[in-house]
Amino acid sequence: MAERVLVYVQAMPVVLPHSIKKFQDLGMSEFSVSHSSKVALSAAKSLGFHEIVALGFPLVLQEALARGATSWVSMPLCDDPLEQASFFPKNTTFPIIIGENNDWVFTGASLAGVLAESRACDLHLLEKEVYTELSDNSIILVRDSGRNAGNIDVRRIKTSTDEELNSQIVLGNSTLSRIEGKKTEAISGDEDQLVSLLTRKLNRILR
């Protein structure tokens, strides 16, 4: 097995600017590592790699270091998986781990498909609980069950804050708009009516 692994760390906005209109406005946000990327970092540690290289937006790389990465490569934040993939290190055959990132602008699956095609790498989809040995030159998409993805290692915080990270660049031309305040639909009635309404709703959601 390779000694080094690359882990794509997705930056997820925590607080959005009030007047957000374009993807590029995200440059004014605060960020943290996405849940799926925490799972991906945790997977890399579980697999016993000595060197874990975090790839991602500069504003989350310190957190990635505190979560177990040993070094980093910064890259812009993109709204397009092909453009994001273009910033991955070239001419390297180390495995690349990606989280599902279903809550981001593009999913980890799309990014994995782009990388597998552009690098002609085998792509493996792994369940968190069943990690296996990984070969060089492969892309690993790690599923995210939503469960606790591990905490920050407080012993690594000093190291992580010592790192000087590049300034942030946000690339993309998609537009963003606030979703209007959501209203809860309160359903009432006798039990048979409730069952009928909820079953129809579930069937529609899960079709």
Binding site: M12, L16, F23, H35, D79, P81, L82, A85, E100, N102, D103, V105, F106, T107, A109, S110, L111, G113, V114, L115, A116, E117, S118, C121, D122, L123, H124, L125, E127, V130, L141, R143, D144, G146, R147, N148, S174, T175, L176, S177, R178, I179, K182, T184, E185, A186, I187, S188, D192, L194, V195, S196, L198, T199, K201, L202, R204, I205, L206, R207
Partner: protein
């Protein structure tokens, strides 16, 4: 040359045909559906809205990348639609990587598609992301099937069925899944989230409900941090700050008004929860 809307009808994609038909009827485009030789009745896809069905000789998952890429190269395709799940998004990403010059926009997990744009709701962030299409080039969109209305089957429709006899170029890589049985339902599965104070009988009914819909049943604890697919929350009494992040539709069922009711998409309060759950299982 006709302008085409291509629909990938594997992995639940046939449900996208009604949407493709709706757009095509407004714009005068034609709808072309893709399926493998050992899946779905091709005639059914015509009833759902396809003008032509391409029945493809597929051996490996990566063959789809070759087949769809070749089709985009040979035809004037305005839009290629995929059902949003992990496998489809991988295939769509690979097609995008191969045919960048022909593709103007890429959108996965979209929940709204109109003739000129797609939109994706990022619920946890409280924003929607919109991508406008380019009239000169193709757009790739994977759509959440749950965001679409029930497909309409019109048995009076006519169309063509073509066996696609192309020999796919062999890709020099593989897509492998640990659990092959999971392939069609890799994304958006139901989570039944149960509160800590409910009895064994209710627990059992929740487990059966999850099983019936091919989902999972989990007891809520601090270790559950985020839920991606739709969720039925049963008697979750925690404070709002202790709840996980819900990224999809949330239905709350409880015996009294609880904080979760204020953030749920649908909330129902009833005294006999077991009766409701049993009703689901009929």
């Amino acid at each position: 040359m006709n302008i085409l809307i291509v629909v990938f009808c594997e992995l639940g994609g046939k449900n996208l045909l009604s949407k493709a038909r709706e757009i095509a009827d407004l714009s005068g485009d034609r709808v072309s559906a893709f399926i493998s030789q050992d899946n779905i009745n091709p005639q059914e896809l015509i009833y759902y809205g396809a003008d032509q069905v391409e029945v493809c000789n597929v051996q490996e998952r990566t063959d789809w990348i070759n087949i769809i890429s070749s089709y985009l190269e040979e035809n004037n395709v305005k839009c290629a639609l995929f059902p949003s799940n992990i496998l489809s998004n991988i295939i769509m990403g690979a097609v995008y990587s191969r045919d960048r010059s022909r593709i103007a926009s890429y959108s996965d997990e979209a929940n709204l598609l109109e003739g000129t744009y797609s939109s994706k709701s990022l619920k946890a962030l409280g924003v929607a992301l919109r991508r406008d299409f380019d009239s000169e080039k193709c757009c790739l969109v994977s759509l959440r099937v749950s965001s679409l209305p029930e497909p309409f089957e019109d048995t009076s429709r006519y169309g063509n069925i073509h066996p696609r006899k192309m020999t796919p170029k062999t890709s020099n890589y593989q897509i492998s899944l640990q659990n092959q049985a999971d392939a069609p339902s890799l994304s958006g599965e139901l989570t039944v989230l149960i509160g800590s104070g409910i009895g064994d009988r209710t627990n059992e009914l929740c487990a059966k409900l999850a099983e019936q819909y091919g989902g999972k049943c989990i007891k809520f604890s601090g270790s559950v941090e985020t839920i991606y697919g739709p969720c039925v929350a049963v008697e979750i009494g925690n404070r709002l700050s202790d709840l996980p992040v819900f990224n999809d539709e949330l239905i709350s069922i409880s015996s009294k008004k609880l904080p979760i009711c204020s953030v749920a998409d649908t909330a129902t309060i009833c005294e006999d929860i077991d009766k409701i759950l049993k009703g689901f299982l009929k």
